[in-house]
Subunit: 386 residues, 2 copies
DNA sequence: ATCAATTATTCTCATAACAAGAAAAATATC
DNA sequence: GATATTTTTCTTGTTATGAGAATAATTGAT
């Protein structure tokens, strides 16, 4: 472990402290992080010279003594771009270094690998132009629906049909900025940690549902990736012995009970009328369609069972549910709570809060922004979050 | 993060490198750890002056050049003692700093809290006398069947009936050496990492069975304790919906299917003849008692299901099964493998090795030694492993 | 036996970081 | 305006790492 590591670690801690708590004073940073005042002062000076943070006069406090300087991330100091590639759309967000979105848009996508790098390069250029800032683009984070190796190769993205694509190299060639690629579930968890409901919470379990079910284990302030990067694929927790078949080949996984295709399939089986989208499912539920409400309730029960296992394993302070689940909260929550009551270790579950996060629906594509921000400011600047 | 932290971190890495691979050269330490040669040299000199490591001439290699110095942990440099408190026995081991046991013994114990500190103090004194070394006792690690807070308070040990006992303070008063206390499952996992089948493996899941089922999550080179220290209580994973009742109050936990009391209970229910001990269960199985073999096979199936969930969550390279399970390997393994075949995500389970470890039966009480060694050489010297 | 080649370890010196305390800056109250 | 108070910066000292030169200890060739 080198010594510049310490500087980097401390600088990173201070940066995010300012991001999370705008207008903190150096004094408070010292109090919260335990870093020595000299070091904080020195790092803030460095940041200040780089134009990264600004010192703002703060309204008088009616206390004697030199007034504190409020520190904020300078909005003009740089841009980061988040890109989210899905089966049929590509989403873009441009944001300042504090992570606050400036502009966003989505474009239709045919899923073809051919020419996607240039397509994304064009999209990034446009979203940057749209945001109205002229600062440098310091990083582009790309959230992908599949697992990646440490070297930035997308191993397999089932919904896109891509296999063994060296995404970091590919996009690096087409885009004139550092590329940070990552799995969509892990990127979304990082976004929750940086901008969402899990802000500054060092241990939580993240689950999200959409065309599939993904997730991440956020442990000790970091995504746990495991020895080979596949840890946290929570869509494949076993929930029903000899249950439904999953696209992964096994049976009884959580994914086919909770994903949009899984729900649609089940509703189709029961009514002969297959919903066209998750929005369609929600509309039927809102119209009091008993079958749909029943299917969602069952999904909630299965979800609650999975959460119970996770609670018993990790004893986390927080379980965060995102994606489609957040919209379906009214239909899922009662069943989730019933299941947890029955299944989770009582002395553990009392310590666990289960929340549904709207982040990914309210401001989508933030996963890529989180990847880029983590990459730009991060410790070892990994360009990949497998 | 301070700078002395780096020194400590590097020193620790070098110490354990020497412990794990006796007679390494400085050159190889550099190659394996990435620490700079100057730093390795400086730290080795420090260790050498403290009498902590020895430089041994190594048999000539027929290669040109200055021959390497073999480095070993000096056996005379200090003693550590491991203590394991169970329901009816207290076990002691004295070991050198390399972790190699010098003497061990067990004594009967009535489980009474009153006077236990003096009892243990006496036991430690005797085991140290017995080992024949006069070096200082640098630390005593105490493995306890319950969960501890960061401050060294044993919250609850069901088998002992203890609650809210400030064990670190209590034993520190009675014993003239630094005390490191910890949960038995986590201590056993640490022992596997330091001395056993999981040596030097940075990510593994540990499960052990005995009077209960415990475990630990060993992630990124450390026991994951979670936000409130209860993480890794794998005995309470849900395996059977609406299954047997567990001492924890919930139903369907792994513990009642795999622990000695759980197995005995089931065998009693089926035969009316309750085994008196795990050894008794094994003897009946070895004598081809079909009921007992069937009960063990069922336990294996349940265990396999739990392991499958863990594999799908962590994608670990290794799952290590210790305690009574190791002795029952022939009766458990087939069912475990069958269950995993059926339940675990194939692309994950191919990466996972499941092993049964004899460590805790062959040389018991090493958990305490691991606690003490970790405490003595550890980074932040936590006196507790909750 | 001596010298060159080779390999392992130590030493030297430059650079970087933290850490404690003094000093300075900026304000409120008396 | 003096004093107390609070926040930030500067000074100085200590301790690390890290690159490269130097040293030490051996083998094999001359």
């Amino acid at each position: 472990m080198g010594k510049s590591y310490i500087r980097h670690f401390n600088a990173n801690a201070i940066f995010h402290r300012i991001r999370i708590e705008p207008n903190v004073s150096q004094r408070d940073i010292v109090a919260r992080t335990g870093i020595d005042k000299s070091v904080v002062s020195s790092i803030i000076n460095q940041f200040s010279e780089l134009g990264l943070v600004e010192r703002n006069p703060v309204a008088t406090s009616n206390k004697p003594g030199r007034p504190m300087e409020g520190l904020t991330i300078s909005p003009e100091s740089g841009l980061i771009v988040g890109v989210q590639i899905e089966a049929d759309t590509i989403g873009y967000v441009a944001a300042a270094l504090d992570g606050i979105p400036l502009s966003s848009r989505a474009q239709a996508f045919d899923g073809k690998l051919d020419g996607v790098a240039d397509l994304v390069a064009q999209g990034v250029k446009e979203i940057v132009a749209e945001c109205g800032r002229t600062s440098d683009t310091l990083g582009v984070g790309i959230s992908l629906p599949g697992l990646l190796t440490d070297e930035g190769v997308l191993l397999h993205a089932p919904v896109l049909g891509w296999r063994g694509v060296p995404v970091v190299d590919m996009f690096s060639e087409a885009l004139d900025a550092p590329i940070f690629a990552g799995n969509d579930g892990k990127a979304a968890a990082m976004a929750e940690y940086m901008f969402g409901e899990c802000i500054d919470i060092k241990d939580f379990i993240y689950l999200f549902s959409g065309s599939g079910v993904g997730g991440a284990l956020f442990l000790d302030g970091n995504i746990y990736r495991g020895a080979s990067g596949l840890a946290g694929e929570l869509g494949h927790i076993k929930v029903v012995p000899q249950g439904r078949y999953c696209s992964c080949g096994a049976s009884g996984c959580l994914s086919p009970y909770l994903s949009e295709p899984g729900l649609a399939e089940e509703i189709d089986r029961l009514t002969g009328n297959r919903p066209s989208s998750f929005k369609d499912i929600m509309e039927r539920a809102d119209a009091n369609d008993e079958v749909v409400v029943g299917v969602l309730d069952n999904a909630g029960a299965v979800l609650g069972s999975a959460i119970s296992s996770l609670v018993n394993i990790f004893n986390p302070p927080l379980v965060c549910l995102g994606g489609d689940m957040a919209s379906a909260e009214p239909y899922l929550r009662p069943a989730v709570e019933r299941a947890m009551q029955r299944l989770a270790h009582p002395s553990m579950s009392v310590q666990t809060k289960v929340i549904f996060s709207q982040l990914s629906t309210v401001s989508p594509f933030l996963g890529g922004v989180a990847l880029a921000l983590d990459g730009v400011t991060g410790l070892d600047s990994p360009h990949v979050l497998p």
